[in-house]
Symmetry: C2
Subunit: 178 residues, 2 copies
């Protein structure tokens, strides 16, 4: 249970942190990406919202209801693209804060036991994963995308920093598939 | 001047974002590092404070007063170690918010012209850099360390996430020297 509390502590803070970082920042920071088929900070917020709807809690419910007898529902990594069209970044940030709070409330209400956390589920690509691993990944996924947002934003000033670029590790990061 | 506004927009937001992310998080997230001679999130906040004192504005002042005739004052990358001893993370976050606000107020009051921004300074390792490059780097340096904090925190849950590790780019990041 201690681990779950640690996970929830992070999950409750990330949306506010992203809000403090991104709300009302100039579009040059938030709407630019790293090139074709990459995401801007705006896109990443859309993806995080999409995951709140279609990834984490649906998978939690699948494990609790079916264990590993039924694979997780399919998840579309580009599923947010349609959902964010016509929305502003402040709207998306509001939405992320709201739906994350709802999901954490639902997660807490499940009152998961150690036995629940050990239950296996079936990931379509990875095979057997436990509920505990899924929940730890929910928090790690926030950090993964915070790491990405910092990198994508730093990318926007790779020219203005001139020779300092050599000292900025974030500008040497090769994305690691995220 | 537009670029400077963009830089200031980020600089004013980072401390609040770090505060929202880190304040009162369990120590397992904030006080652990990636191994010997690496930094925890706590250490990074100490470094950011140290840079506010000893790096950015002292270099700005050096350029404005001496151009490239005088190299930047020396900067100790481990200079924060003594300064953070005995302090709590909330104390450091308060300090970062305060000193950043002071520095931004000083920066704005300089009312820098395009000619000022083009002025050269002398970096002890990089040689000639402009004031504009230094200021762009101040913001990029925030992102560099946000990127680092996300990675260091993700490192703490590399075991709990189990097989999901393969999907988390942040856990493949090799630090790039930061």
């Amino acid at each position: 249970m201690h681990d779950l509390n640690r996970t929830i502590a992070l999950l409750t803070r990330t949306p506010a942190a992203l809000d403090a970082l991104l709300r009302d920042l100039p579009d040059e920071w938030t709407r630019r990406n790293e090139g074709e088929n990459t995401w801007s900070a705006f896109d990443v917020i859309g993806h995080l919202i999409h995951c709140e709807h279609d990834d984490w809690m649906p998978r939690v419910r699948t494990i609790l209801a079916h264990g590993d007898a039924q694979p997780f529902p399919p998840f579309d990594r580009w599923g947010h693209v349609k959902a964010v069209q016509g929305k502003s970044l402040p709207q998306l940030l509001d939405e992320l804060i709201r739906i994350r709070a709802e999901n954490i409330a639902e997660l807490r209400a499940l009152n998961l036991s150690a036995a629940d956390l050990a239950r296996p589920g079936r990931h379509p690509g990875l095979g057997i994963v436990t509920l505990s691993e899924l929940l730890a990944t929910w928090a790690a996924h926030d950090l993964n995308h915070l790491h990405q947002i910092a990198r994508v934003m730093a990318h926007q000033v790779r020219e203005p920093v001139g020779p300092f670029r050599a000292y900025l590790g974030v500008m040497q990061c090769n994305a690691h598939g995220a």
